[in-house]
Assembly symmetry: C2
Homo-oligomer: 642 residues x 2
């Protein structure tokens, strides 16, 4: 049975990798862009629609405000991108928000950053997978009722691939990312051409003809409030930007410079698509509705009636789906890695820092899979409904990491030319022009903080409250775990340890016996070999069974003669209680301060499936004795065929 489980595991997960085989592939800029940018670029599948689905509340006419809001989001993205370049250049070994915050602002802020990011990584998986399935159901509406099982299947697939260990060649990632970018760019350009009437192409047919009407909100306050909410919704475009700062070491030399350039390219590409999609879809007066995504509507309208149009439409839908699955995959890279950092620092269960056979963090991968599946089920794979929970974490971590950089720049400004300063994780040199870099980080911190407040305020009742509660709750959990580990370490420490203060070991062995058979005889013999003071104890609930036991006992004097047999009469059914009481009395009273040994005879059916046929007495006894520090348990097995 054990062999079979392990064989199944091998088949599914693959043969183990030796530890030294950790991947050290270096990525050129073209591949790196694809690996790191799938998350922010894929946000284009839903970011425009997220803004529109808030504006539609004001009225169809308000949809024309999508474009200015998209430009505001773009401004924010560029600000974050440029201030993150500073992080990359100063933390070439990897400067995720957790690391930068810990290095500059201390433990508590870093735990907030870590907690915020972990939650966002979960949502990256749930949102991306759900949006990916929406790309499928937009093209094939018949699949709409199956979006939840499809999304769960995608999560299972991602989990499986990641447990096997992705040895990504970069190329695998590059293909769908670039084909998505090309597909959407072509669509946007084609849309612009058709809208402008160039080359004599006809104006695209809008599938849903909406009556354009003036926006008429109930009040100015409500109008501004809805604008802020729409802007907040668009901020989902910012998720995933921090990924490059974590992965500087994956770039070819010079790592930091290449990473910074890739960051810029990522910002430019993602924002071109974002603005392009927003412009074309608002020009076509598209209206968001649940059955079909805006991107699908736009592509359908633009490609309609053109030779090869269907091909382009399916191209965009297929690569939208694929890039979204890749984006979900970045969650599978980030969550387990950040968990392992936190586990290494003692804030998460230690097993989360263990790599499995395939050198991946199994614990983190499985935890992520479970939580993101729950989110998908709770929201019935509706990514637009999940968005209010999303982006909050990322914005908090931006604020914290920018504040950290602001602090670091302050320290650099005190350096004289040629001086260097070592922080916990990086080395900083004197540099010129610090003041404007510091200003940039400062502005970045303030702006992202303001946006964070806007996000919390406008999305609060729609679900953001959950995140507002969850982030500090997680931080509390981190601290509780750390306290526990500290206590354990202090308890186990040999610092002040003197071997003379160790517990004495009592020369007394207790053997619980239910009947005399080959298994118990073996256990009794084993016990007598270790000690001259063996006591067999049996609980008797009826006189007949007692008589049988005594008769059997007398049959094997070679073994039983040297053993004291104690039979306790008991009139209740629960025979474990008097057994445990006897043993604990021996340990706490008779041999107080010493270790007492209990030998448990246990017969083990060869077939695992037969285990449920046997009384779980031995297991229950063991689990009840586990709580006692002064009881040593010896399992003497007796394997039984059949």
């Amino acid at each position: 049975m054990a062999v079979n489980v392990s064989r199944i595991k091998r088949t599914l997960i693959g043969e183990p990798f030796p530890t030294h085989q950790e991947s050290h592939e270096r990525l050129d800029k073209v591949r790196a862009l694809a690996v790191f940018a799938s998350d922010p670029i894929s946000s284009n599948a839903y970011a425009t629609e997220a803004i529109m689905s808030v504006l539609i509340v004001i009225g169809v006419g308000a949809l024309r405000l999508t474009m200015p809001l998209a430009l505001a989001v773009m401004g924010l993205v560029l600000l974050v991108v440029f201030s993150y370049i500073q992080t990359i250049l100063h933390y070439p070994d990897g400067g995720g928000a957790y690391t930068v915050t810990k290095d500059n602002l201390g433990e508590t802020p870093s735990l907030f950053a870590g907690s915020a990011l972990l939650i966002d990584y979960v949502l990256t998986v749930s949102v991306s997978v759900s949006a990916g399935m929406r790309a499928v159901t937009s093209a094939v509406p018949e699949l709409l009722p199956y979006s939840v099982p499809m999304a769960l299947f995608a999560i299972i697939l991602l989990t499986w691939v990641n447990l096997r260990g992705v040895r990504e060649s970069g190329t695998v990632f590059a293909i769908p990312t670039y084909l998505f970018v090309v597909g959407v760019l072509v669509t946007v350009l084609l849309g612009l051409v058709r809208i402008s009437g160039m080359f004599g192409l006809p104006y695209p047919v809008n599938p849903v003809h909406a009556v354009e009407a003036a926006a008429h909100p109930a009040s100015t306050f409500l109008f501004i409030w809805l604008l802020l909410r729409a802007f907040a919704a668009g901020c989902t475009a910012l998720t995933g930007i921090e990924a490059i700062s974590n992965g500087v070491q994956a770039f070819k030399k010079p790592e930091a410079r290449n990473a910074a350039l890739t960051m810029v390219a990522m910002g430019v590409i993602a924002m071109s698509l974002f603005i392009g999609i927003t412009y074309v879809s608002t020009s076509l007066h598209l209206i968001p509705y649940e059955e079909e995504s805006i991107l699908s509507q736009m592509t359908r309208a633009v490609t309609d009636g053109l030779p090869g149009g269907r091909f382009l439409y399916y191209w965009v839908q297929i690569f939208t789906m694929l890039i979204l699955v890749l984006a979900a995959n970045t969650g599978y890279q980030d969550f387990p890695r950040l968990s392992s950092f936190l586990a290494k620092d003692g804030f998460m269960p230690r097993w989360m820092q263990n790599r499995g056979d395939r050198l991946v963090f199994n614990g983190g991968i499985i935890t992520l899979a479970i939580i993101s599946s729950i989110v998908v089920m709770a929201f019935r794979a509706d990514e637009i409904a999940m968005l209010p929970l999303y982006a909050l974490g990322v914005m908090l971590s931006f604020t914290l990491s920018q504040s950290g950089m602001f602090h670091l720049m302050g320290r650099i400004s005190h350096l004289k030319p040629g001086e260097t300063l070592k922080t916990q994780v990086t080395t900083i040199h004197y540099e010129r022009g610090v003041w404007w870099k510091r200003a940039l980080n400062g502005v970045g911190a303030v702006v992202t903080f303001v946006v964070l407040l806007v996000l919390i305020a406008t999305k609060f009742t729609e679900g953001a409250w959950l995140i507002v509660i969850a982030i500090p709750a997680l931080v509390y959990g981190f601290r509780a775990i750390k306290r526990h580990y500290n206590a354990v370490a202090a308890n186990l420490s040999t610092q002040t340890f003197d071997t003379h203060e160790m517990r004495e070991i009592a020369d007394a062995v207790i053997v619980p016996v239910a009947a005399v058979h080959r298994g118990t005889l073996r256990a009794l013999r084993y016990a007598s070999m270790w000690s001259d003071n063996v006591c067999a104890i049996s609980i008797s609930t009826d006189a007949q069974a007692k008589g049988r036991l005594l008769a059997k006992w007398a049959e094997f004097p070679e073994i039983t003669d040297s053993i004291h047999l104690e039979i306790i009469d008991y009139e209740y059914r629960d025979i474990l209680t008097p057994m445990v009481e006897y043993i604990i009395n021996a340990a706490n009273v008779t041999y107080a301060g010493m270790l007492v040994t209990v030998v448990i005879p246990e017969f083990i059916p060869e077939r695992t499936s037969a285990r449920f046929l046997h009384n779980q007495t031995a297991n229950l006894l063991r689990s009840r004795l586990r709580h006692y520090d002064n009881v040593v348990i010896i399992d003497v097995p007796y394997l039984v065929q059949g």
Copy 2:
């Protein structure tokens, strides 16, 4: 933690009972009737409707055939009742179908009887609880959407009551049973009065006016087929009849005679209600439909417009619900008892014969609760849909037990006056008039067998196929379990046991060590006390950790000097495999034929909730070593605060 679990259990289940406190209450006939007859009497809540819901397929006019079919069912019931009286008189210690069949026809037929009855007991619970909830929703249609959760709640309640141990005074059972009987009798009589126009009472208003039309089935064959199906449906009235034969010992002296008289009374009462309900409801031209049961329709029509009519209506509905819950409760008595018989004979897991603290068969009760809940959910608490699965088991067990009685009567007929014969479980004396009793049992066996075939044939595609597969499958399972227990007993038997052929115990102890701390030091010390040949083994995956381990090891020469430390370098992550291989190699090669001892140091966090924070290495190692007969495992605990 353990303390809390046990406290919760005490609160829910109550304080344990001493073993000698088993209930030996003797029931007078009035109470016994109520205790044993709730199941057959409660069938009246749905038996008439079951017939009608098949006839309606032919046409509304065919409903007039309900009465003749009900009379046929009654004939069958009376035949079974009278031939069961023979069983009661010859098996005064309790003659369930399993016992009678085993005693007369042998093991295989008895297993079929047992399997059939177990399945039917599960259905007794599912059907009765669902029908009980239908009595509620017929009166309060607003509750209709909640019938599944209500039914599950009723099952949980029954489970809880039965786990506490029902110390039924008989009186508790008598009240709802008799009040149901009285309520329905009054309704039926009132119906007869109103239909006949006596005392000037108006003719009842039929809520659904149906046009009476001639029956026009597609073909004669189909017509007969549907008649047979309707008859088969009515046979659900037969379930629960065998209960008295199991419980003869619960009667006051003379037990067998009182039991037989009670059986007759039960048959008469149940059939009076059955025929009465059928007559009144067909006279009123009621039509079965899902939202309201026939019994509820009839009561509503009969009581309509009369002073106190609403009171009588609610009376009938409330006591219908209560008697059905009591009927479900008989499943909770019968299933665990029969399971315990089968377990005692080695055909079911042995723990099913253990009584819990409260002297009830916990294992059987919980198994029954789980399976009947699944049935309720699968059929969405629609008892009419469950009926095709029901009554098959009971009919098979009737056939088998009647055949058994036929066989027994044959043996009696060979006795001479004054002679007695002992079977495995009963003593038979010479008696007169055996031939007609034998004929009665023979006719009973043949008729129930024919009805069984009709049931299978007519209900097959509606779900009976499931039972036709399940019964032999269960029998196969029983046999497999028995084989396993026989093999285990042979393996453990000391019959041919010679203490000289026992395995030697190797004077060698292996201690797996990951790091040197207070916990491992305690384990090492314990090991050195038992043996001079202790080997600590550690798996090293990196050189740094190895250096630390060696340094720590050297710090405690008082303990470690006498111990050989073996460090195995390993380049994969799964450190358990080389550990297990080393130990198994020692056990199978170095100390071949002997018992090898492994000491596992294990630190145990005081709080159970903190367990998940620690590596499960010790648990995994233990579970992988469990499969080896020649490895003894010693757990040396080290309790850690925090």
